[in-house]
């Protein structure tokens, strides 16, 4: 029964994406073409990766506010590993992703073993990560200009024809996230902790350990996002990152994942992230003043969440 309901929500989100997409295609002659669609996909990569990881956390009815500055800290770590220490690119990337996992692990430890509410634990981590990014980088950007192999991870064209590698990375990460959430025991416990944590614990499952694993997994995606943003900009910019977490959370929510936990899907999150980038891109192409772009984005989030709530109310009656 829940499966049917989830599919309905995905269909709703997907329907909105198609509707918005069609609207811009008709409204502007320069919207629907190969290069614009790839640039929409490209601009979804970083927020999309952050949103994928956060989906797991939000399904457990947690939240992760540390992903934005955590991503920045990971970008700086990548610079330290690859540029400053001269590690080979593949090793630096691996180290950065693992470092992201470490941030998640600390979050998970604070939430599940110390019992700090996720909002507070990850808010604290957001500040720690922001500060550490500045301390470690000495508040100056680290440049990857002499590491063409690194920037190619984002802007190279493995498939030729102007299709940036970053989009492939997002695609592969989405598949992995979907498999983990739908086909593994980790995914099953993610849902079960979110639906009823007490019942899950009573059935003999170590909720603490699994939460630790879930936050760590989310951190790995943060690490990957750190790699992708620094590869795109050919630099780790230590002062940025604030605000990315809220965009990622918005993508998750638009995609139908409930902040109350227990419900959600990876496909929904991807669709949510795409809705945000299609809106941003389309409104810019139509030269809508920026102030109004934010108003419209806010309205879309309200409508998406209201639709979700209304559907739930109907289904409980």
């Amino acid at each position: 029964m829940t499966a049917v309901r989830d599919r309905l929500q995905q269909f709703l989100a997907f329907g909105s994406l198609i509707a918005i997409f069609l609207f811009f295609s008709i409204a502007s002659s320069s919207f629907l073409n190969y290069s614009n669609v790839t640039s929409i996909l490209f601009s979804t990569v970083v927020i999309g990766l952050l949103a994928l990881g956060t989906t797991f956390v939000i399904i457990t009815s947690g939240i992760d506010l540390s992903i934005g500055t955590g991503m920045t800290l990971c970008a700086v770590i990548s610079g330290v590993l690859i540029v400053n220490s001269g590690l080979p690119v593949w090793l630096g990337v691996l180290g950065t992703i693992l470092f992201g996992g470490l941030i998640g692990l600390v979050n998970g430890f604070n939430v599940s073993f110390l019992g700090i509410p996720p909002f507070i634990a990850t808010l604290a981590m957001m500040l720690v990560a922001q500060g550490l990014a500045l301390v470690i980088s000495d508040s100056t950007p680290i440049y990857f200009n002499d590491e063409p192999g690194y920037t190619a991870i984002s802007t190279g064209h493995l498939l030729g024809v102007d299709f940036p590698n970053a989009v492939l990375v997002l695609g592969v990460a989405t598949v992995i996230a979907a498999v983990v959430l739908n086909k593994t025991i980790l995914g099953r416990y993610t849902y079960s902790i979110g639906s009823n944590e007490e019942a899950t614990a009573l059935s003999g499952i170590s909720v603490r350990r699994w939460k630790l694993a879930i936050y760590t997994l989310a951190g790995l995606f943060t690490g990957l996002a750190g790699v992708m943003i620094s590869a795109r900009l050919a630099s780790a910019q230590p002062g940025t990152g604030i605000g990315y977490e809220l965009q990622a959370i918005a993508a998750v929510v638009i995609g139908g994942t409930s902040l109350a936990g227990g419900k959600g899907s990876i496909v929904g999150t991807l669709i949510g992230a795409l809705i945000i980038s299609v809106l941003n891109n389309g409104l810019q192409i139509m030269s809508i003043p920026q102030e109004w772009q934010n108003v419209i984005l806010g309205a879309v989030i309200l409508v998406a969440v209201y639709a979700d709530m209304a559907r739930k109310r109907r289904s409980t009656v």
Partner: protein, 328 residues
Amino acid sequence: MSKWLAVCAAGLALGFAACGDDEGTTTGGASAGGGGGGGEQPYIAIVSKGFQHQFWQAVKQGAEEEAKAKGAKITFEGPPTEQDIEQQVTMLTNAIQKKPAAIGFAALDSKASAPLMEQAKAANIPVVAFDSGVESDIPVTTAATDNIAAAGEAAKHMSELIGGSGKVALVVHDQTSRTGIERRDGFVDWMKANAPDVELLPVQYGGGDQAKSADIAKSIIQANPDLKGFYGANEGSAIGIVKGVEESGKKGITIVGFDSGKAQIDAITSGVMAGAITQNPVGMGKQLVDSALAAINGETQPKVIDTGFYWYDKTNIEDPKIAAVLYE
């Protein structure tokens, strides 16, 4: 199942090792920040607009050098982003509480801080404004770039480079800060007055975020295949435009930027960018400390001190006068 357990175990082991690291770095940072008390030297508390842009680091460097040379003690702080007006007001409040000999202040919002200027005056602390003015008579002087003139200079070069006609797009960092407003208006007004055939597209704002500005630039290119020029009003906007143009693969767009930074200098050297306006941040930092010391000694100063700007491109980037004010 066992695979996941193994992953968790590995993560756990790594985690504890690095928890220790985290702690080490934090305490190291804290003790470094807390150091440096006492002494007979005059203390100047500087509240900047931020530190995320290299520009502020260069101002800080200039201020530190001058303070060392003249025998003063300074602190330099700023909010995490240039939208955090409230946080900056708190920093200024705290700075006044510390009873420094003088305050250096770069207002994010020229009106929001006016009441605090009264407080500083009541406490007999002279204030030197820098980078952008404050709407108050209290600062003894304002050490700033004439941003309207500087943006006009950027417009003049843009118009010359594109032959006086065609579509030009602007990516500006924000619509509330004085540099955002003046660099937009200075550019737009010059074009309206001097280049009637240049068509300016609606201004877009990228918050100075490189990735966001790059996405905006790509959308503009999509919507306007006949675009001839791009103007980026600060470092993040300009570098974002360069990224966006490169990612779109579009050739023949003239890009004019603002400030410096390694990525922008590289783009100008390689010819992707036509040129940029640079302020003189190191000189601004020096002037700020000089003016603060003069104010402590009760000397009168002009209301506004222009710290200067230059147009730089491939031809003069090596010029010692230019090289001295560029920062990586």
